[in-house]
């Protein structure tokens, strides 16, 4: 009986310590509430740098993000939402599936306006000269961060386990999760 009790205690201790170890693991959260509107809060503003804009043209300035986009790149759900937005907002019209066309490629190591999340965020919000439209005010801040995360997954910047596996639509290149990381070269043409 004591042998059984001792072994039970040992098993309990083992189970408890492994349960504690699990507390350190990351949670795979999903949020289903409506994303906050980025027009509501007072924050520093920057001008739009592109006159090209989807839908109704806007002349107002673009607000800078409230945070630095943490929590989007480590979350598969947000990246997948970004992939969906990429399709819905016809990013492929210029960038194709990352291989580039009218616009530059997004799956290689070259970044004209910077490869950091904050820089890509600004690119989407403000637009860029020579063709990149300004999406500020057309998407919520939340969605722009999701797009940013997806754009970075295209050149393998994200962890394999959060990058999209494959799409249910036709896709010319290999899944984002299977791509090698391209070390970014800032300012390259």
């Amino acid at each position: 009986m004591t042998a059984t009790a001792a072994s039970t205690a040992r098993i309990a201790a083992l189970a408890l310590s492994s349960a504690l170890a699990l507390c350190a693991c990351e949670r795979e959260m999903r949020r289903f509430e409506t994303p906050p509107d980025n027009r509501s809060s007072a924050r520093p503003e920057t001008p739009r740098t592109s006159t090209l804009q989807p839908a109704e043209a806007r002349s107002d300035a673009v607000r800078m993000p409230a945070g630095n986009g943490e929590g989007y790149e480590g979350n598969a759900y947000n990246v997948a939402q970004g992939k969906r937005l990429y399709r819905w907002y016809n990013c492929g019209g210029c960038h194709a599936q990352g291989g580039g066309g009218m616009g530059p490629a997004l799956i290689d190591d070259q970044w004209r306006y910077g490869s950091e999340p904050a820089q890509i965020f600004s690119t989407i919000m403000q637009g860029r000269p020579n063709g990149m439209p300004s999406f500020g005010g057309h998407l919520s801040e939340d969605q722009v961060w999701q797009l940013t995360a997806y754009v970075r997954s295209m050149s393998g910047q994200l962890r394999k386990d959060v990058a999209p596996g494959r799409a249910d639509s036709l896709q010319a290149n290999e899944p984002e999760a299977a791509r090698d990381r391209e070390p970014p070269r800032p300012g390259a043409k």
Binding site: L22, R27, R31, Y77, A80, G165, D168, A177
Partner: protein, 654 residues
């Protein structure tokens, strides 16, 4: 283990009753080694089965708690108790737990305990494989719950339909863990099926011909064969799913030439037989309990066996009735309608045989019999709605509504959980040596029976009123509010009843009335040995002359005394020797040596778990993870010099 070096087997032979040195040697030979390592190394089928039953019951309680949370969320319209994300995880985990981690495994767990005892043998076939199957099941189930607690529980339903469960709509690792858990538990089920089939065919007591096997064993044998044909289908499907998700294959992607309906076919080709994998053992429980409490042999043994087999065959021919709402050819729908309705015939044969048994019997209204009668009421209601759902026009009308939820719970809980609870009360004294409290048992039954009907009957009406399945909330004023509240109250009643059961089981472990070998006066062989059975099951292997061996001989006058048996003797008492018999007429055939306890099945299971968890993150885990598995399996099957010398010495003539 613990075996002296090269000593040849001594000549201690079995065949004498408890208390003799031979019996003591037998007990020492067949018991598990002591200590934590010994606990992990155990291979005795009763130890493994006890753990298995407790584990599956823990999963049942966990799955039930998830259901209670769901019902609390749905009790009022517009409730904000859990969000949509958590709700999706809840119903997925509830379904997956109940189907994969409770209903099928618990039946196999009970079979692992009872089949060798009912067949009058000392061990289950392949005892190490049996232990391995348990560990695999435990790790697979734990893995699913660990990721659920980590907020990454699967959320695409227990059926995991693609494209919802595919990489595009279920990003992240949630569905990957689900798919791997399926592979784990179904691997375990397959191994247990092999173990049961071999035990039934080769390890029966002398004289137990095929037409003398207890009906529960028949039910488990048929179930095991069904497992062999059904489970590979879902393992294949889940492997294809995880390949779609991890390495970008396109099995289920129509854009690239794949097919989403392929998933449904593969899943339901398993999923429909799965219902009968749960139902047939339930029938087996009934066929064991009804004769005991009616105090007469079962009516129509041959008809019962044939209808078990007919049910198993038909079960593979009607999976498409889960897919009537998919655009399939009309001729196919007609065929599967006919097949679905046809299954009522063997089920009815069984029910009428039981009724005939009860009709002519002198009923003894103990708790197990109450659960049997509850089964009749609930299953017949569930069967009626089953006939309704088998017809295409009605199915299209109520598809994906609460009507289906009501039907499936009536069939599964009525067909499996009620018999199972009866079986717990019936065999508890055999496993623990003590009876459970009758008073608490009656409370348990009536709360369960009333709570069940209060919880699930309104769901028929909710479904007819248009409430869809799998919604996390609904608006007020649709006419669903009151019935949802009632259903929640019913769910809480069921929870209370299960709590009573747990209290009863825990209390009776220490304070129950001592049971003796055969408290119910039953006729099958598991009641011929002490309660709980000694490690070797039987000190003398019984010889069987009829279907109910304990009813063949008049009981001696003395209270609790066992009828005198004819038995065979002469197997070694100090090594794991076993008698194998021929398949058809159970004549003694071979003397087998069984393996000793070893840690390697446990280590192998750990290695397999490491491979599968790694494979969720990188395909390379399949390559590198196979190395530890190869090492563990090599150690598992490495011949032991001492063991071999004992076996050789036994083969020599004395």
């Amino acid at each position: 283990m613990n075996r002296p070096g090269h000593a040849p087997a001594s000549r201690l032979k079995d065949g004498t009753g408890p208390g003799s040195p031979e019996a003591a040697a037998l007990d020492a030979t067949w018991s598990d080694p002591p200590g934590l390592l010994g606990w992990l190394a155990a291979v005795n089928h009763k130890s493994i089965a006890r753990r298995f039953i407790v584990t599956t019951f823990c999963f049942f309680v966990a799955g039930g708690l998830l259901a209670v949370v769901m019902r609390l969320q749905l009790a009022r319209p517009g409730s904000k108790l859990v969000g949509p994300d958590l709700y999706n995880q809840l119903f997925t985990m509830h379904g997956s737990t109940m189907m994969f981690l409770f209903a099928v495994p618990v039946m196999q767990a009970v079979a692992v305990y009872l089949v060798p005892l009912m067949l009058g043998t000392r061990s289950i076939a392949f005892p190490r494989l049996n232990a391995f199957a348990y560990w695999i099941f435990l790790f697979g189930g734990l893995m699913l719950y660990v990721v659920f607690v980590l907020g990454a529980g699967p959320d695409a339903g227990w059926f995991s339909y693609v494209p919802l469960a595919g990489p595009d709509y279920s990003p992240g690792k949630r569905e990957d863990f689900w798919a791997q858990m399926i592979t784990f538990t179904e691997l375990s089920a397959l191994l247990e099926a092999i173990v049961v089939i071999t035990t039934v065919f080769k390890l029966r007591a002398p004289g137990m011909t095929l037409n003398r096997i207890p009906l529960f064993v028949w039910a488990m044998l048929v179930t095991a064969f069904m497992v062999l044909f059904a489970m590979p289908s879902v393992m294949l499907a889940s492997t294809m799913l995880i390949m779609d998700r991890l390495v970008g294959s396109h099995f289920f992607n129509p854009a690239e030439g794949g097919d989403v309906v392929l998933w449904q076919h593969l899943f339901w080709f398993f999923g429909h037989p799965e219902v009968y994998l749960i139902f047939l053992p339930g029938l087996g429980f009934l066929s064991a309990m009804i004769p005991t409490f009616a105090r007469r042999p079962i009516f129509g043994y041959t008809a019962m066996v044939l209808s078990l087999i007919a049910t198993a065959f038909l079960a593979f021919g009607l999976w498409v009735h889960h897919m009537f709402a998919v655009n399939l050819p009309e001729l196919g729908k007609s065929f599967f309608t006919a097949a679905s309705m046809l299954i009522a015939i063997p089920s009815a044969v069984q029910i009428f045989c039981w009724l005939a048994t009860l009709w002519g019997g002198k009923l003894d209204f103990k708790t197990p019999l109450l659960f049997v009668l509850g089964f009749f009421f609930i299953l017949v209601l569930g069967g009626m709605t089953g006939i309704m759902l088998a017809s295409v026009p009605l199915d299209l009308q109520v598809h994906d509504s609460y009507f289906v939820v009501a039907h499936l719970h009536y069939v599964l809980i009525g067909g499996a959980v009620f018999p199972l609870f009866g079986a717990f009360y019936y065999w508890y004294p055999k496993i623990t040596g003590r009876l459970m409290s009758e008073r608490l048992g009656r409370w348990n039954f009536w709360l369960f029976f009333i709570g069940f009907n209060v919880a699930f009957f309104p769901m028929h009406l909710l479904g007819l009123k248009g409430m869809p399945r799998r919604v996390y909330t609904y608006q007020a004023g649709l006419g669903w509010d009151a019935m949802n509240m009632v259903a929640t109250i019913g769910a809480l009643t069921i929870a209370m009843s299960v709590l009573l059961f747990i209290v009863n089981a825990a209390r009776s472990l220490r304070h129950g009335a001592p049971a003796g070998a055969n408290p119910w006066g039953a006729g099958t062989l598991e009641w011929a040995t002490e309660s709980p059975p000694p490690p070797c099951n039987f000190h003398a292997i019984p010889v069987v002359h009829g279907r109910d061996p304990l009813w063949e001989h008049p009981r001696p006058e003395a209270e609790g005394a066992q009828p005198a048996f004819t038995h065979v003797s002469g197997l070694a008492a100090d090594t794991r020797e076993l008698l194998a018999t021929t398949v058809l007429d159970a004549r003694p055939d071979l003397r087998l040596n069984f393996p000793d306890p070893t840690i390697w099945p446990f280590v192998s299971a750990v290695a397999v778990t490491a491979l599968f968890i790694g494979s969720v993150f990188t395909p390379w885990a399949v390559v590198w993870g196979s190395i530890p598995i190869a090492i563990a399996l090599t150690a598992w099957f490495w011949p032991d010099r001492a063991e071999t010398s004992v076996h050789l010495s036994l083969e020599r003539k004395p």
